[in-house]
Symmetry: C2
Subunit: 292 residues, 2 copies
Amino acid sequence: MIIGVVQMACSGNSDENLAGAVGKVEEAANNGAQIICLPELFRSQYFCQKEDAALFDLSESVPGPSTKVLSQIAITHGVTILASVFERRTAGVYHNSLAVLDERGEIAGLYRKMHIPDDPAYYEKFYFTPGDLGFQAIKTPHAIVGPLICWDQWYPEAARMTSLQGAEILFYPTAIGWHPKEKSEEGQAQREAWMTIQRSHAIANGVFVVAVNRVGHEAPAGGDGLEFWGSSFVCDPFGVVLAQASVDQEETLLVDIDLKRIEEVRRNWPFLRDRRIDAYEGMTKRFLDDEV
Amino acid sequence: MIIGVVQMACSGNSDENLAGAVGKVEEAANNGAQIICLPELFRSQYFCQKEDAALFDLSESVPGPSTKVLSQIAITHGVTILASVFERRTAGVYHNSLAVLDERGEIAGLYRKMHIPDDPAYYEKFYFTPGDLGFQAIKTPHAIVGPLICWDQWYPEAARMTSLQGAEILFYPTAIGWHPKEKSEEGQAQREAWMTIQRSHAIANGVFVVAVNRVGHEAPAGGDGLEFWGSSFVCDPFGVVLAQASVDQEETLLVDIDLKRIEEVRRNWPFLRDRRIDAYEGMTKRFLDDEV
């Protein structure tokens, strides 16, 4: 089966971004992709660079305008689409969500980002209520997909909980980039850490991992902004990178994967067999102060 | 502070291996190392390539001959030594253990390998009772060390549980190698996966990671044996590899690390802040069949 990974740049024009996304999804479908993933919050520039209550205007319901348009594309082309949405659930409750749209045009599953960052230029705790739907594995015609979003990628627990529900492919739509001032000194280590930890989730769990980032330099007035580092990639259940996009160009990866590889890797590296589930209770604690 | 990483080959002569280890530890101490780690089961060749009850003769008590000799070295040089021991606890109960010997010559902590593999040529479930002392962080004069062993390195839970107790440096004494027949096709991916997942533990937890492997081709009569791939390394709390040994030579890495780097990395990448401890209960389950 073929995964379509849409690495795109996002403008300040929401309709233009949706139209661009639709065009890229259709092109990927025409080229054989069966499950297609868009980047995190592709309908806008990454607005979390500042805290501004007016920007909640960018949110929409689920189902809503974005999922309706993309569901139609899913039906027309018979594909599954993973669509990131800035979800307005009610006044004052907004989520960073990922809708899995199946080939019947239905919402096969909705995931709400569980781990919310808050760091300079990534002020997400202001905008997004932490997800309350838990980690999920969602059956689609082509694979059981594990929807996760950006900051989730740094948490082995998120990958594990999703994989233990049977997910075969973890998807991480993402908006991550360099602070221009840090790029020369820290940039390489940051991008490398981002790849390393996501590949490790593939290895630990014996699943495919798909990371889908945006590209472009988005600088709000007066700020240095963020240089999104692209580098979208797909790796196999042993962490082998099958394909990777550039750091600064829009491009769509079409990656042929064989889900049977999961069984093969897990038979030879049977990590799930030996988990010490009797000894992991502390995982649900913030810090184990009493133990040291 | 300086970490000493002793990558060595092991012969069939137990006394020779101990003498060799002592020499290398003393040399590392003389060169400034303050915490020194030996490879897994360094007193023998990797006997788990076959199941033979007579090989339990290789086991010893803790405290016992190995820890006594190395404790004396720890006192003489004022260093901490992490010494892997095939521990005989009683008839029929043997562990793959790691003793942390402090500069007073005392056993500051004892860890018993929690995750036990069993795969062709790694028949450890025959020899080792799974550890019953849990994951630990052990205070030593120079750092809080997290003792873990080989197969543990594939488990994010082990790294997390150890780090949540305050460990600053995770140590993974190891005996891992290539099946000669697989090496040309799979060897690179295997060694790469092994590095990737250990580096990911550093990143996820903001801790240093030290992996200490053996070298050499050990082939029991009539078998292809295993080619241990060395590659011992130290990485920083963002997964940056600070030093790495070769795949086939004995060598001792002396790696200068600054524990203040932990605070620096964790402030800028505050993963521990955002863990969704309300949603990790499933981590203590084998598989979440009911959820899909």
